[in-house]
């Protein structure tokens, strides 16, 4: 396989997001791929060095934690600007692009003034084309100093509980739950539904729940079939984590709370009465 001079490079993690990045990259030429896991275990500087060694004319990658990490290393090495989490890109003297701000709560239209655009693509933002997969460049092992930052060990999670990111149903509580102990009724309902327990940032900041339960921009982004939000006002920080939810049920004493206006179903009232009543109704029907 011959790789052209100054190729368009796709940093490829072999997921849907990389295929979306590939679709945008094709506007700039015929991309060739370098695998994000070209070196095992993961060594981000080694991947970045391999990308830069191709003297690329443009680099695209997935807007994931690892994709953004490696692209930032590429940008620092090449001394060029980098636009993260783009949803649309148009070639030109200056590349015109749209990217996500505030975890997707705001769109930014920008111009990238760079001879060699460096772009990551936000998940779910682009419909992937059905063009052929890119040829993969088999890279040589870079110098040892590129392996100073390398994964030494992977700790697997202990089993138990439903993972928030994968859960089909989530029962989530906010400041309106009132206390750490107040989550007993949330946990009871979650148990009956086989659901994961979630919460808002106000709850983790107060120390009522661990950060691993937090849904939102700086917590976990979720995509359940049903999301039951109890006493959560719906700040943009929280809503940024909810975009993938199929159905949202909001329970709140304030009918004007932002989450009540952005839910599929609403119930107005005191969650301390409503949540146990739902649990009782489920038990009754079984």
């Amino acid at each position: 396989m011959r790789i052209p001079l100054n190729p368009v490079i796709l940093i490829d993690d072999r997921t849907e997001v990389s295929r979306q990045a590939l679709t945008l990259a094709r506007q700039f030429g015929e991309p060739a791929a370098i695998a994000l896991d070209a070196f095992q275990p993961f060594a981000p500087d080694a991947v970045a060095a391999s990308v830069v060694a191709q003297d690329p004319s443009a680099v695209f990658g997935p807007g994931t934690e690892r994709g953004n990490d490696v692209m930032a290393r590429v940008a620092a090495r090449m001394g060029l600007p980098f636009a993260a989490n783009c949803v649309a890109v148009t070639p030109g003297d200056a590349v015109t692009l749209t990217r996500l701000r505030w975890g997707g709560s705001l769109l930014e239209e920008a111009r990238l003034h760079s001879p060699r655009p460096l772009i990551t693509v936000a998940p779910h933002a682009v419909r992937p084309d059905d063009g052929p997969p890119p040829p993969e460049i088999h890279v040589d092992r870079p110098d040892d100093r590129e392996f100073v930052v390398q994964v030494r060990e992977r700790i697997q999670p202990s089993d138990g509980g439903v993972s928030l990111a994968e859960a089909k149903v989530i029962v989530s509580g906010g400041r309106g739950v009132g206390s750490k102990e107040g989550f007993a009724i949330i946990e009871e309902l979650a148990g009956l539904l086989g659901a994961a327990v979630g919460c808002s940032r106000a709850v983790t900041s107060a120390g009522w729940r661990p950060h691993s339960d937090q849904v939102g921009q700086t917590g976990t982004k979720v995509s359940p079939d049903v999301y039951i939000a109890c006493g959560i006002s719906g700040a943009t920080q929280h809503m940024a984590g909810l975009k993938g939810a199929k159905r949202i049920l909001a329970i709140n004493s304030d009918p004007q709370a932002p989450l009540m206006l952005n839910a599929d179903y609403t119930v107005t009232g005191d969650l301390k009465e409503i949540v146990p009543a739902i649990s009782a109704e489920i038990r009754k029907r079984r």
Binding site: F42, E65, N68, D69, M71, A72, R73, A76, L80, P81, F82, A83, A84, L100, R101, W102, G103, S105, L106, L107, E108, E109, A110, R111, H113, V149, Q150, V151, R152, R154, I155, Q156, P157, A165, L193, R201, T204, H211, Q217, D225, A235, T236, Q237, R247, I248, L249, M260, L261, A263, D264, Y265, T266, V267, T268, E273, I274, I278, E281, I282, R285
Partner: protein, 254 residues
């Protein structure tokens, strides 16, 4: 031990983002300000490291005159002093932010010695560029590990833990290092009243630097269209339980 932490003043957006008439910024007329949540954990970690190991912590920011409020907040939590690069009006892109932070950090290190750790948030809450820490690390020639949920200093090295696909990846790098952290790293303390009092008299150095050329140039902002959720009322109070469970059955989860 010398520890630095870099922070950015951002608005507390609340429930609904409203833009200025020219769509260049968020209308912050009625909003409070804070620092990015990830950075709050960087501040807490810096304070804990200096409490445990002695030494000094410095907070850096690039922002408007009012950003001194956020610097005082950081010092109320225990950061020793602050360096403030003042901006006038417009935001800076990630590349120019990193270039100027590097200059300012290097100048400080030449006078006072190397930082063992420089903390950044993994990404800023507002622009989410995912790059400032990495660029500063590269310019300083130091290793950078991103997205950390746990940081443990072990002698002359630091053990770094990162959440990946439900598992946890561990890196170990030598100090000095640049670490970008995420919320969940720790539970930041609340400022105490004596802490706030002490913060008032802690030193803030203000620097003026010309805004570099912006190669990622903001054209305008837009609020994305809503997701068209219909907000159908299922009733009020405990009496709504039956309608709720009907809905859950339709959704196939009961």
């Amino acid at each position: 031990m010398r520890v630095a932490v870099c922070v950015k003043r951002v608005p507390i957006t609340g429930g609904r983002i409203v833009l200025t008439d020219d769509a260049q910024a968020i209308n912050t007329q009625h909003l409070g300000f804070t620092i990015s949540p990830h950075e709050e954990c960087g501040v807490e970690e810096a304070v804990r490291l200096v409490e445990a190991n002695k030494g000094e912590s410095i907070v850096f920011t690039i922002g408007p005159a009012e950003a001194v409020e956020q610097l005082r907040d950081c010092m109320a939590l225990g950061i020793d002093r602050a360096i403030h690069v003042r901006t006038y009006g417009r935001d800076w892109d990630g590349e120019s932010t990193a270039r100027v932070l590097f200059d300012v950090i290097r100048a400080n290190e030449e006078d006072e010695g190397q930082f063992d750790i420089i903390f950044f948030g993994n990404e800023s809450a507002d622009s989410g560029g995912f790059q400032v820490g990495m660029r500063v690390a590269h310019a300083l020639g130091r290793p950078c590990v991103t997205g950390l949920k746990k940081v443990t200093v072990e002698g002359s090295s630091v053990r770094c833990e990162q959440d990946v696909d439900g598992a946890r990846d561990v890196y170990v790098v030598q100090l000095p290092a640049v670490l970008t952290v995420k919320e969940g790293l720790n539970l930041p303390r609340y400022p105490s009243v004596p802490g706030r009092m002490r913060a008032r008299s802690k030193p803030v150095v203000t620097l003026n630097v010309e805004r570099p050329e912006q190669r990622l140039e903001l054209v305008k902002l837009a609020v994305p269209a809503g997701q068209g959720r219909r907000a159908e009322s299922l009733g009020a109070g405990a009496g709504a339980a039956s309608a709720i469970v009907d809905m859950l059955q339709q959704a196939g989860v009961v």
